[in-house]
């Protein structure tokens, strides 16, 4: 066996499983999970949590420092930063989730095909993957986004396409290591056609690895979205996004540092949490880990 098989856990047994026990013992991973859950909660219930309309400009309160009225201060057009951060979570989270969904939808089938069919199909898909992975992630994503035109949808599409090779390579590698497993051979020996073996017998067994990759790629995608919004290629004004908030903040760094501080901290915290969660999941799923 090239790699220890990961035991599949039915949902009903999740909280009694070894994976959960190992995960819950890792403090950093639990911290990551909690922050991610908070961000999700905030994004979903943004209208109820934000004290102000994130786009409402209050010209009498421009660049106000944090106060009881404006908890985190206001920006250059008098918009409440806290409210914008709360609504900005939607853009960031959506960018993360939707772009990674695109990457999974494209990457997993291509990876399965490359691993299972082999030969020329594998050759073409793998060379294409190598070529894309040879280009830095952000540069490639920005190139795609610039080509597609500036909008949040296009940014998500660009990030999704750029992240696709990550999933192709992961899936292909996992398929190659699982293909020689006896249960895969056994599935063929009872007369299952290749596509059925791939979808029913291999795919469910690589879900843990895919989950880990998904979590970590969401972090990358959030950074990419913030970077693109910062450059004006992502979320368009007046809709809030953490990246575009940083962009407008850079002109006022010396006299209104809070404008840059909060979105920067939130991006850092969210990305860190997704990474901690991903690392925690990887260690929890890996039977060789020490905990």
């Amino acid at each position: 066996m090239a790699q220890p098989a990961i035991p599949y856990i039915p949902f009903s047994q999740l909280f009694e499983s070894r994976v959960w026990r190992r995960f819950s013992k890792t403090k950093s991973a639990v911290f990551g999970l909690v922050v991610v859950l908070i961000v999700v909660f905030v994004a979903v219930f943004a209208p109820f949590l934000a004290p102000y309309d994130p786009a409402a400009q209050i010209w009498t309160a421009v660049r106000q420092p944090p106060s009881a009225l404006y908890w985190l201060g206001t920006d250059e057009s008098g918009r409440d930063i806290f409210s914008r951060l709360v609504f900005g979570a939607r853009a960031s989270l959506m960018a993360g989730v939707i772009s990674v969904s695109i990457a999974i939808a494209l990457g997993v089938p291509l990876g399965l095909a490359a691993g299972f069919v082999g030969g020329l199909v594998d050759g073409v898909i793998s060379r294409f993957t190598d070529a894309m992975l040879a280009t830095p992630f952000l540069i490639l994503a920005i190139a795609f986004a610039a080509f597609l035109g500036p909008s949040l949808t296009n940014a998500m599409l660009a990030i999704g396409i750029t992240a696709t090779p990550l999933f192709i390579r992961l899936t292909r590698g996992q398929v190659l290591s699982l293909r020689s497993e006896e249960y895969v051979e056994a599935a063929r020996s009872v007369g299952n056609p290749g596509w059925r073996v791939a979808l029913r017998h291999v795919l469910p067994n690589i879900l843990p690895q895919l989950l880990v990759q998904t979590t970590i790629t969401i972090a990358t995608a959030i950074i990419a979205e913030a970077s693109m919004s910062f450059l004006g290629l992502g979320q368009q004004p007046p809709a809030p996004s953490w990246g575009s908030m940083l962009n407008s903040a850079q002109r006022f760094l010396s006299n209104a540092p809070w404008m840059a501080l909060w979105p920067g901290m939130i991006i850092f915290l969210t990305v860190l949490s997704f990474n901690l969660l991903g690392d925690g999941l990887r260690d929890a799923f890996d039977p060789r880990s020490k905990t």
């Binding site: 066996m1 098989a5 990961i6 035991p7 599949y8 039915p10 082999g118 030969g119 497993e181 006896e182 249960y183 051979e185 056994a186 599935a187 063929r188 020996s189 009872v190 007369g191 299952n192 056609p193 029913r200 017998h201 469910p204 067994n205």
Partner: protein, 349 residues
């Protein structure tokens, strides 16, 4: 494998078997050859293997690691990777050559007419599905029955392979079951569609000795109740003695001796078989030490000319530089050795 008068040709059995298709033979393999093409070398894993499996009988295939046992069985089911393995010869099943039918036809045979059980019960079940699902899947694949009906049949199969409280067990995942239980599930899966041929590749090797006996006993029972013919691949002569009717002994990709269990165990005619039997520990006679066969299996990228066992053989003569044919010793008992019958050489040894 009855060659009535062995001609000097290298594969005399092939033709004879082809002529005798109606004597209850379910599966006839003629002159099977499997080569794996590497980057620079070609490895001949199976070189001219022929055997016949008869209805309701079990055939033991014995040999050490790398002798081509497993590759032969995977070749029968056409489960070898098509891009690297070159297969030639004839595999006759139900009047057709399995090597010339389409992949779709082959898929309809797998698990339905010919099934296989694997060596490692710990890894040959899918960890993501309940065992009942996995048995039912085979039934659904080959029988036009409803899901509920397939489930009922799957539970019945689990009962047949003597899994206690099969209704409960069917809803469990492989990791909830012991090794012996999992091997029973594998057998249930393989027998779910009442195949004519069951290929068991080292079915007991990974199990405790007590469980081994239970599994062999189970196979024996199923053979007599369902009439399924069994090919039992093993390196364990004890298993063969217990569970088989006929035996072929393989060495370096070739069949070196073939006959009934009694013939092989009472009058082994190939020096390799003699060596294998000599290396078997026994309690009923005094032995100071076990006899090991000196040397190692030849490199199959460059198999030696002539007899492949010659380099390790205590009875080697000059003639062994020529390739020996399968020579008949007794009716139904053949050996690939120039010096057969070996009884006459007793003084020499």
């Amino acid at each position: 494998m009855d060659a009535s008068n062995p001609p000097p040709a290298q594969e005399p059995l092939a033709r004879d078997d082809r002529a005798s298709g109606s004597d209850g033979a379910v599966l006839t393999v003629n002159d099977l050859r499997v080569c794996f093409a590497g980057d620079r070398t070609t490895t001949t894993a199976v070189d001219g293997v022929s055997f016949t499996l008869r209805k309701g009988r079990s055939l033991g295939v014995v040999g050490e690691s790398g002798s081509g046992k497993s590759v032969s069985s995977l070749a029968v089911l056409r489960l070898l990777p098509t891009d690297s393995a070159q297969i030639s010869g004839e595999i006759l099943f139900a009047g057709q050559d399995l090597l010339s039918i389409g992949e779709k036809q082959m898929r309809n045979l797998r698990g339905n007419q010919i099934s296989m059980i694997f060596q490692e019960p710990m890894t040959s079940l899918n960890p993501s599905y309940t065992v009942g699902d996995q048995v039912a899947e085979t039934i659904l694949r080959h029988r036009s029955v409803s899901k509920a009906e397939a489930w009922t049949q799957a539970v019945e199969m689990l009962r047949l392979v003597r899994i206690p409280s099969p209704e409960t067990r069917a809803r469990q995942y492989p990791h909830n079951l012991s090794g012996g239980m999992r091997q029973r599930v594998m057998i249930a899966m393989a027998l779910a569609c009442e195949p004519q041929v069951l290929i068991a590749d080292e079915p007991t090797t990974a199990l405790d000795v007590t469980i081994q006996a239970q599994i062999l006993d189970l196979l024996e029972n199923l053979k007599s109740t369902t009439g399924t013919a069994i090919v039992l691949i093993t390196h364990d002569l004890g298993v063969v003695a217990e569970a088989c009717d006929d035996v072929i002994v393989m060495y370096a990709g070739q069949v070196v001796e073939s006959g009934s269990v009694e013939q092989i165990f009472s009058f082994p005619q190939h020096p390799y078989t003699v060596g294998l039997l000599g290396s078997l520990p026994r309690l009923d006679e005094e032995r100071d030490e076990l006899v090991a066969i000196g040397g190692t299996v030849p490199d199959m990228t460059q198999p030696p000319a002539g007899c492949r066992f010659a380099a390790r053989c205590p009875f080697r003569i000059e003639k062994c530089a020529e390739t020996p044919p399968m020579l008949e010793v007794n009716p139904g008992h053949t050996s690939r050795c120039w010096r057969t019958p070996l009884e006459e050489l007793a003084d020499e040894f």
